[in-house]
Symmetry: C2
Amino acid sequence: MPRQPNPARRVTIIDVARHAGVSTTAVSKVLRNAYGASPQMQTKVRSAIEELGYRPSAAARGLRGQTYTIGVMLPEIRNPFFADVLDGVTEHLDGTDYQFFMAQCCNDEAGEARVMESMIDRSMDGVILIAPISARKRLQAVARTVPTVVIGRHGHSPDYDTVTDDDFAGAGLVVAHLAELGHRHIAHIEHLEKDPVRLVEMPNAQRADGYRHAMNAHGLADGIDVVSTTYTQEGGYLGARRLLAGPRRPTAIFAGADIVAMGVLDALTEDGLTTPHDISLAGYDNTTFAAFGPISLTSVDQAGHQMGVNAARLLLDRITDRTRPTAQVKLSPSLVTRRSTAAPPA
Amino acid sequence: MPRQPNPARRVTIIDVARHAGVSTTAVSKVLRNAYGASPQMQTKVRSAIEELGYRPSAAARGLRGQTYTIGVMLPEIRNPFFADVLDGVTEHLDGTDYQFFMAQCCNDEAGEARVMESMIDRSMDGVILIAPISARKRLQAVARTVPTVVIGRHGHSPDYDTVTDDDFAGAGLVVAHLAELGHRHIAHIEHLEKDPVRLVEMPNAQRADGYRHAMNAHGLADGIDVVSTTYTQEGGYLGARRLLAGPRRPTAIFAGADIVAMGVLDALTEDGLTTPHDISLAGYDNTTFAAFGPISLTSVDQAGHQMGVNAARLLLDRITDRTRPTAQVKLSPSLVTRRSTAAPPA
DNA sequence: ATGAAAGCGCTAACAA
DNA sequence: TTGTTAGCGCTTTCAT
């Protein structure tokens, strides 16, 4: 017993054309707001669309023109910073004909490749890649196939636009803040990076560089102490464990990301330590988590929302004109001080 | 100066057929693992695909057959519980030909409608709707158009499969735990629901019912105290404010979701109160947030991962056979006790 | 300004 | 088992 006696054939452009007494070409033009449709034609077609409840098939459109679909690749969904970026994208795309879909890639090159390919296979009109770790070559290849905006990756490409935060400066803000409070031994937990190209392009590397530079600039070269793990909660936990077990415990920790700071807090709690009494802690991203009362984490705000808005804008521009020169938007971070940082214990 | 001198036409099934010296039908069959292709044909075609780097166009496929695309709608990305569900979906879909894409809908019916429509427009092969708030009628309509699995919504439908947690029982676990600790005045912060149909189907309503039932069962009818807000951090904050300002402060609060518990903690912190010393607090979802050391929130584990796995499995089954009777998977919750709950202050 | 008709890259009848 | 061919629902020349 099939549950659908009459699988209700979808309304097509032909139905609309017939109902409005015009050609399919005319309907198509109205759909795309293309040139060559008189006002009266517009109203005729639009009311037919309305009456029939017609919705264009993205698959069919994609075979010739656009799909009005944008793909957003993100490394992981748990880092709340990405939610801010997505809000920005949503905001800018709202009201346009474009709909965006997200796909998570598991923080490895193979996963990213699979996701990017699948977006291309689905004839998406453009893609926004958030903090990709793939080789630059791969990104270029993708960008030559489909309009692309890369978020959170430094460096100039002739093929894709970029939106980044000035991570170097952001790290400097943290060090300056802690130095001013009187800290001299400020440790940094970074995301380990080996690949030489990525070493320059990845935000984590820039933050680590900015940290070192600022420490030196403040005459705290002796207080430089870097632990390399990963930008995950687990990475933060392990990094903190190593720092706490070391011979010379830092009076402050600069975690490369809020999610890393979470892991640090896990470790601190385990040892019965509290911020800022026993140790000061700062993060990066200013996620909602950092603002959360019981945590109250000093963090660098890199305006994820603005990054999302800019990325969406650049992408639509590029979809409109694929030959325009690429743009590099670099946003300035600001420090949000909260209760997790204070002067070091006397 | 166009950046792409030769826009490199995509390799099509015709190219593959020509290169392998076979018909396009043969290639199509191999692609779909369809019946009627000899082993030697398979290898011939596969190597041609390999050599040419051919990838099928989902748009073109969608016009006749499947797109191998699954859509997952989720109400908001910030609630970490959904990440668990997505992990489950990812796990089950991994290794299949299906790729899934997520779309966020803004917790309102119009937003959900837009997202569901857009998935249908894109000829997706199936959709997983996570905690939708749309009227049942709408869900049915969607399910009659495209294979659908609904997560987190009670009630039986002839058109879609469901995966839920036994929310009624879950609330009971919390009350039992708190009662055993000696609490008699246990407040509950619920998500306000007015619509009569949803009142029965929504998890939040079931939790509130389970709470009331359990309170009565434990002889704590006098201690019943329900505050209606929303399942958001803000809702938790406001709910807690109301409870703390009331004439009779509860010794324990059962927040309907971990995200609500976060808001409660915000309010408690503001008043200089701590858990479990001043007040006990329990949540629902057992998100990574609850497990987070400094929070250590007692919470109900509804096995989000398992929900995701089950949903993906049911969906693939339904895509294979749309006429099979619908299934209702109901998972049993378990309580994870942590440091946020203890005996009430003497 | 409008419409007729040729595809876009596949899949599915059907024929061989 | 294999190949031929007619669409799927649009967009896009190109006439008119």
